[in-house]
């Protein structure tokens, strides 16, 4: 009897591919994490240690001094509040307008549906500056220039396309017959939506709102054009960047990154939920 030789090359290839996949995951994670780490390190170090050479890559001189100085400097605390107001306001307003629009896109066939979906994305095709300057004029005449309301309106306009398209895809994932079952068993159209469709869509809507919040939190250009004294945090940091010390810049960067990370961490459960439920 001759022993059959087994060609193990495919198995080895599979193993090698797995290792390569893991390595690229690590590389991408490092690419994201190293800047965050460096900023956090710098923001949480003493001012003197920043000027030392060579720079220590481990947290040797931990202190809140820099961060406290940054938060204590004029306008920062107010700007942080403004950013929160604008972020949450944008989130709410775009949900109120965008979620029903997404529902309509998912459930109804209407003339011009395809062009409408394409047209939605045009808002994002215009540079923010092109949008903001006429808006600034308009806001001046209706007297909401330099208010958080104005920025909320701009950010809502920017966020709506993604909110609508994401929530449309979320509602597509809610089977129509579940909604019909609710109707048959005694719900009004609104009742069926609130009791059955909305709870099923909530994880996806939450994911959409993360994008909205983070987008609003990070948006600088429009916010700095539309406000003077009521700046959001990124706008505030940006305007004072040129004439501020190194430590201030790091602390500013840290303060900008943290809320987004916390928000995503809170919403992560819903994100994986959404992907777990739509990718079967």
């Amino acid at each position: 009897m001759t022993e059959t030789t087994v060609d193990t090359a495919p198995l080895k290839r599979q193993k090698r591919n797995r290792v390569l996949l893991q390595l690229s995951c690590i590389a991408i994670s490092l690419f994201m994490l190293i800047p965050i780490y460096l900023i956090s390190l710098a923001a949480l170090s003493t001012r003197e240690s920043l000027n030392r050479f060579p720079l220590s890559l481990l947290p040797t001189s931990f202190s809140f001094e820099t961060l406290a100085a940054f938060l204590g400097s004029t306008g920062v605390f107010g700007a942080l509040g403004n950013s929160l107001i604008v972020g949450v306001g944008t989130l709410l307003l775009s949900a109120v307008i965008g979620v029903p629009a997404g529902y309509a896109l998912a459930r109804f066939a209407f003339p011009g549906k395809e062009p409408y979906q394409l047209f939605l994305l045009f808002t994002r095709a215009l540079p923010i500056v092109v949008l903001s300057v006429p808006l600034a004029r308009l806001f001046l005449t209706v007297d909401i220039y330099d208010t958080t309301y104005g920025v909320i309106l701009l950010h809502t306009a920017l966020a709506l396309p993604t909110t609508i398209l994401i929530s449309a895809s979320v509602f597509l994932g809610v089977p129509q017959d579940v909604e019909e079952a609710a109707r048959v068993f005694g719900c009004s159209p609104l009742g069926a939506f609130m009791r059955v469709v909305m709870p099923m869509a909530l994880p996806g809507i939450a994911a959409a709102s993360i994008f909205t919040f983070v987008m609003s939190w990070n948006e600088v250009l429009g916010a700095s054009i539309l406000t003077l004294d009521h700046r959001t945090l990124p706008a505030q940091v940006l305007t004072s960047l040129a004439d501020s010390p190194l430590a201030y810049r790091f602390a500013g960067g840290f303060a900008l990154v943290i809320p987004s990370i916390i928000f995503i961490a809170l919403m992560r459960r819903y994100l994986t939920n959404m992907w777990g439920s739509t990718i079967r």
Partner: protein, 360 residues
Amino acid sequence: MADISISNLVKTYPGGTERATDDVSLEIADGDFTVLLGPSGCGKTTLLRMLAGLELPDSGSISIGGRDVTYLPPNKRNISMVFQSYAVFPHRSVRYNIGFGLQMAKMPKSDIEKKVQWAAELLQLGPYLDRLPAQLSGGQRQRVAVARAIVVDADVLLMDEPLSNLDALLRLNFRSELKKIVQDLGTTTVYVTHDQSEALSLGDQVAVMRKGRIAQLGGPLDVYDAPSDRFVGGFIGSPPMNFIDAAVTADGDTLVVGDQKLMAPSLLRSFKASDIVLGVRAENVAVGTQRSSGDIAATVLVVEPMGSTVLLTVDVEGQTLKVQAPPTFRTAPHQTIWLSFSPNTMRFYDRETSMALEAK
């Protein structure tokens, strides 16, 4: 409980040109189990959805228990429904799912609990009441859907292919269980299916639908034994009814198939010297290896032992037939066998209109 009266119902879907239901009228008596049967796209589901209020007709009317419900929303019709894909609420427990309709009807909590327990008992869902639907098997989910539909005291119970997502064995078991449950409840039931064996086994009456119209309405056995046209005969039965081109002689006494002759039943006296179609079920053809008078010769093409019977595909004068032989019947391809037809199981159809011939 209530009777249903559907009259002249027309529905065309937006963008479509063909009528999904074409002037359908149907009377369903109180407590009857009616099955709408037909191939996909025949309008059976559309008809059911109009009964449920999930689609609105273009014209015509529907009344349930004497009350016009044609354009009433689903929640105002006092109906309940079992969906093909179960449509249980995935984010709520089995208990909540079953009690949903009662809760919507604002029934007191203790009564809901009692009814939910009763339905869970009936459908063997007792141990699963606090689970989420995702933790149940497909069969159990469909049980939840049925339980949810029967706890509400609906006038009419609608079922849209409730068994089609279950695997074959489960479908067979649940079918008889469902029949018993619905019988005991006595609710007027409309059941949609494309599965003819389901239709025959469940229905008090079967409405066979085709292209938006009811092709035949009758008891399951009537529909099976005496199809009103070739479509119904070809759709119901497994294997479907055989159709053989034949001609009636000038004196009306003999039926000619190719070069062979058959005794014609008296019905055909009114169709002297005309071309017709003979329809006969596979099990109504007796087969033999010896010729006796009045038999037709056939050549065996395929032999398929089915366990309880042997299914033969045979050739008669260039036309292919399926016939059933007892399991002990021994034959092989290319052999000649003899077929005998009994007059009272033969059905006759017009060659042009495909409609059943009736004595004039």
